[in-house]
Amino acid sequence: MNPAFQGLLTIIIGVGGCIGYFYFSNQFLDKVLYPAKGPKAGHNINRANQIRPWLFLFPAMFALGLYLAYPVFATLWYSVTDRDQGGAFVGLANYRQMADDPKFWEALKNNMLWLLIVPAASTAFGLLAAQLTDRIWWGSFAKSLIFMPMAISFVGAAVIFKLIYDTRPVDQSQIGVMNAVWLQFEGGIGSFLILRLLPGLLMISAAAAALYVAYSQVTTAMEKRGTAFILLVRGVFIAVLVWIAYSTLALALGAFTKTYPYGVPQQWLTIPGWNSFLLMIVLIWIQTGFAMVILSAALRGIPEETIEAAIVDGANPFQVFFKIKMPQISGTIVVVWTTITLVVLKVFDIVFAMTNGQWETQVLANFMYDKLFRANDWGVGSASAMVIMLLVSPILVWNVYNARKEMR
């Protein structure tokens, strides 16, 4: 049977079946099971109305249970059993085996970098784009162009950026933009300004910003104290910030001292350290539009009076932005951040299509795919899936908590 015809048939059967199910089950309930007439009419109507919600809910709940809830537990079970031994319980052996695999730690490290950089950069660019486009007459047109990559598949984006990172041998003309730009640098004063001074200063200011935030956290912790839990969270936060400051300073030092291979086209995607960032750029390019759309709506929702009052009191544009606007949209920023975080945790297509985890670009989702379908090792594959689930669960708890709070 032709698949297109099969597809049409499925739509008819699926949609018709669903509607038929809903219609006939309601009819059955009202006419046969608890008819709304006779001596017990009132009682029957009540009974029918108690059952009806479940008729409406049943297909969805069944599908959700089977396709999302059950797999969580099944994967948990697979991760502690061994398929080769007929599914015998092996405790944490799979996790141990996974921990012994250097590729896993590489994937975890890269995932952490992705988690730090992609949401931060997308949100920052999105905020910038929202702030800028909201004040020009062709802003909505500009917005839809920046938003456009949202419609492009990760695989399509991978091809687009592979063309940008493309490398040709030294004697041919470069067709990748990145190498074409790279070959413009030859080690003169321009190269010093753009390749050493600019990134160096950027890194130093990033380190300074991280240290400043860490310092203000320390002072608030000194003043307020608070519960042990809050202190612990603060401590972890400060430690992460100090680590960020340290690594950005190291990068700044590298920017000033490293010898650059001028005039030689580089195979960008094979340079460990750099290539992960190049893959992240793809996702940042896609997600910035999303952040921009949401943040722009939030910025427009800020009451005018608060801004006017601040200006009357003599606040400059930076103060207006950081002290008046930012606090009012912080809730939205958190939502954008967590949404992009979820995308990052599941990122698979980009890495799979561009490097397939070679040259130290492995991420958890691709590591898992590798284990499941190439190495056919379901135990370790499921164990790494559980690691992804573990990383997602704080957001899950937070979302559920918020939803519950909202409904009260």
């Binding site: 409406f56 809830a69 492009i152 687009i160 795919y369």
Partner: protein
Amino acid sequence: MDGMVGSKSSLSWAVNISVVLLVMLWLFPTVGLLVSSFRTTDQISSNGWWQSLFPTEQNVSLRTVDPDEDGVQQLVNGLYTVEGNVFGDTSEAVISVWGVSSRAIDSFGPGDTADLGEGESITVQVDGSYVWTGASELSGRGQRVFATAETPPEFTTDNYRTVLVDGNTTDSMAKAFFNTLTVTIPATIIPIVIAAFAAYALAWMDFPGRSILIALVVGLLVVPLQLALIPLLRLHLGIGIGKGYLGVWLAHTGFGLPLAIYLLRNYMVGLPRDIIENAKVDGATDFQIFTKIILPLSFPALASFAIFQFLWTWNDLLVAKVFLIDATGQTTVMTNQIVELLGTRGGNWEILATAAFVSISVPLVVFFAMQKYLVRGLLAGSVK
């Protein structure tokens, strides 16, 4: 601008320029792909796509017609003469300088005559037409001409023909295109129907455990589908669905449901209570209220989710790879086809760029046509 009356115009210039730069930066990658898909293999490998938009000056090595071919050589005024155009047919290229040896490619200007020795000489005009004469019969291969020529931008739709119409089976996107369509349409429509009923129940029906179910949906919203791969593949293989369209439709339905229920419920809760209560007073059943009142009113939310689900299923690679594509490869989808082309045709950018653009063109059209609903859905789905 917020209260900076004096510096308004200069600041608004700065804002305009930065937005132009930002938009260009964001468009640049996609435009590169689009332009590359209209260039030939030679053009792509000879220079970057950004140079193809303007006339380019290139050094080309050309050759005149082989004088040994029949009828090429004519005796004019006692001289053996070969005439023609170094670019083959007529071309729009403009020659600025040329030469006859690779060591001196800029010895002559257009219209000059180069002495080749032994009584031979050649004259090349600005458009590439040449006259090559010799006192004795010309022989050997054609005379080499090195020219620096400015060629105007040139584009072709041949790549699209190769990829869509008459490509061989490994390059062809036509089948993958229809396969993707076959996956996408049922996988978009079915979850909407199922979710709409559930969303109505969660929004407007009173029953114990409702808030727990809503919380459950919110929780499932973030469960990574990676967890579902193995258990569900086993399930599908176990109950005989195997790998195929039915499996991928079911999988997409399951994975799309949380967002569908969440979006639709949030929208339906906001509908005016009066309408529903009036209808109830008039004796309408829940089923009638749902189909006659709620569904038509919820159209914006339905459209939002439909776009999300369409984009997501069209662009998906992982679910198709796990639940659909079997060893025969007959059911490959476009994303998978592109990944395979990346492996086998890594350097053939004309095929890759065209294939990728075919795959992203449909989502782009949907995106620009229905952006309003997409934005609305995003706002409803994430801003709380």
